[in-house]
């Protein structure tokens, strides 16, 4: 049974209202505002509706409303003001303060019953809805968290699988997976530097994560190059070099075949890096001879990272250059021409490149 609190300083009025409502509600009575507040405090959730008189000695109805409002009780407990007050302003003031209904004395018992019933039902319904919304919001938040966690794991696994794929290709080169790791490291260093220096490239941290991950596949096409060319210790003939160059296009063919394995943006970066990481700024690179900013920035970055690593590492066909030699060769255009902006960025992270190359070498030697 719902509890109705009747607040009126006059006994006759309290009893009148109690008689009207006692069949359907359990009645709690208060003689003044202070008593009403005490009851609301102790019974808290127990009261479903308040019938409030306005003019009372001591704490009057307005003060009760103010106090209920400051305790945020009016959202939960509907108040019906019953007053002999005929001034319209009093009624307006009550509604402004958040009462749900206003009835003038003399009142009609049937109307009182109906209005109280409506108020209780409405607030009950509202409370139920809010509870339901809260529950559903919690569930959604939880599920959202799980989904995000799964997406994160999936991404992580994806990155690892791509690294494996890159390492498989490299193992034919008789190298460990270290080249891939280093190229990814150099790509990150240079890319994050350019993020700061060259906002016009539109690089963001999210994009950089994808580019770094996709960099692992830059040489995936080498899987299709025969051992006689790939593993040849000496200088390649013109024909052999032409064959070697096709690793860019063949890489893209492989990527085309695994379409659907990653999202569009990821696929696009993989493709750009695979195909264009040997393009050069003056158009003298391969396979397409792209010029200047025709070359996607991701491919330009991985291009430098790849060349730098090749220079400072030992290869079947050459010994390792020192860091200084490698730096000067790239800046001097001996490994093909790069954009001035990218070379500037490269110069600014020179020390970090050196450190990474050294760490990896030490790591490999251990």
């Amino acid at each position: 049974m719902y509890k109705a609190l009747i607040v009126d300083d006059l006994e006759i009025n309290r009893e009148l209202l109690a008689e009207i409502l006692e069949d359907e509600y359990s009645i709690v009575l208060a003689e003044n505002g202070q008593q009403a507040l005490d009851i609301l405090t102790t019974e808290d959730n127990g009261i479903s509706v308040v019938l409030l008189d306005l003019v009372m000695p001591g704490m009057d109805g307005y003060q009760v409303l103010e106090e209920m409002s400051s305790r945020s009780l009016l959202d939960r407990i509907p108040v019906l003001v019953i007053s002999a007050e005929s001034a319209v302003m009093a009624e307006r003031r009550c509604f402004d303060m958040g009462v749900m209904d206003f009835i003038h004395k003399p009142f009609d018992s049937v109307l009182i019953r109906k209005r109280v019933e409506n108020m209780v039902e409405l607030v009950d319904y509202k409370n139920q809805l809010e509870e339901k919304v809260r529950e559903q919001t919690d569930t959604l938040r939880e599920q959202n968290g799980l989904l995000r966690e799964q997406a994160r794991k999936l991404k992580e696994r994806n990155t690892k699988m791509i690294d494996v794929l890159g390492a498989v290709v490299e193992s034919r080169n008789l190298e460990s997976g270290e080249h891939i790791k280093r190229v990814k490291g150099f790509t990150r260093l240079l890319g994050e530097q350019l993020m700061q220096e060259c906002p016009e490239y539109g690089l963001t941290q999210e994009k950089m994560e994808i580019i770094v991950s996709a960099a692992a596949l830059h040489d995936v096409g080498k899987i299709a190059i025969p051992d006689s060319v790939l593993l040849k210790p000496g200088k390649l003939t013109k024909e052999e070099f032409e064959e070697m160059k096709t690793h860019t296009i063949r890489g893209c063919e492989i990527l085309d075949n695994v379409e659907g394995a990653w999202d569009e943006e990821y696929g696009r970066y993989c493709y750009e890096i695979c195909r264009y990481h040997h393009e050069r700024y003056d158009g003298r690179g391969y396979p397409d001879g792209l010029c200047g900013e025709e070359i996607p920035v991701a491919a330009q970055i991985v291009g430098i990272a790849d060349v730098y690593d090749a220079l400072v590492s030992e290869r079947v066909y050459k010994g390792a250059f020192t860091e200084e030699e490698a730096f000067n060769m790239i800046q001097g255009g001996e490994c093909g021409l790069f954009s001035d902006r990218i070379l500037a960025g490269f110069a600014h992270v020179r020390a970090a490149f050196k450190e990474l190359a050294l760490n990896q070498k030490n790591h490999a030697a251990q």
Binding site: L16, V55, P106
Partner: protein, 118 residues
């Protein structure tokens, strides 16, 4: 004397009361409660002490209870007096106090006459 005759003698609204409390028996019980109601004496005490703030409140209460009980004439007199004292001011027209007094006595006499005839 019936309750209806009692109400007629003071031009009260018995049917309104019966409707409010849903039944003649209850109407009688509530109308008799007025014999012990304190709001009139509180009103006169406050006026006697020149405390028009409390007098306003008591008049307001009297007006409310009379409205509910269907004592139309007393309700009207109390209402006029209430408005004359709103804000705690002394009523300019002291006739309003006399008028309320007269209606109260008329109402009480009728109620007591009914009570003794039962």
């Amino acid at each position: 004397m019936t309750l209806r005759e009692c109400y007629e003698s003071i031009q009260g609204d018995l049917d309104g009361l019966i409707g409010r409390v849903m039944g003649e028996e209850r109407a009688e019980r509530f109308s008799m409660k007025f014999l012990n109601d304190q709001s009139y004496s509180q009103l006169m005490d406050a006026i006697g002490q020149g405390d028009f703030e409390n007098a306003f409140r008591a008049a307001h209460t009297l007006k409310g209870v009379c409205a509910n009980l269907g004592f139309t004439k007393l309700q009207e007199a109390a209402a006029e007096l209430t408005e004359a004292m709103r804000g705690g001011t002394k009523p300019e027209n002291t006739e309003l106090i006399e008028q309320t007094k007269a209606e109260y006595e008329r109402t009480m006499q009728a109620l007591m006459a009914y009570q003794s005839s039962r």
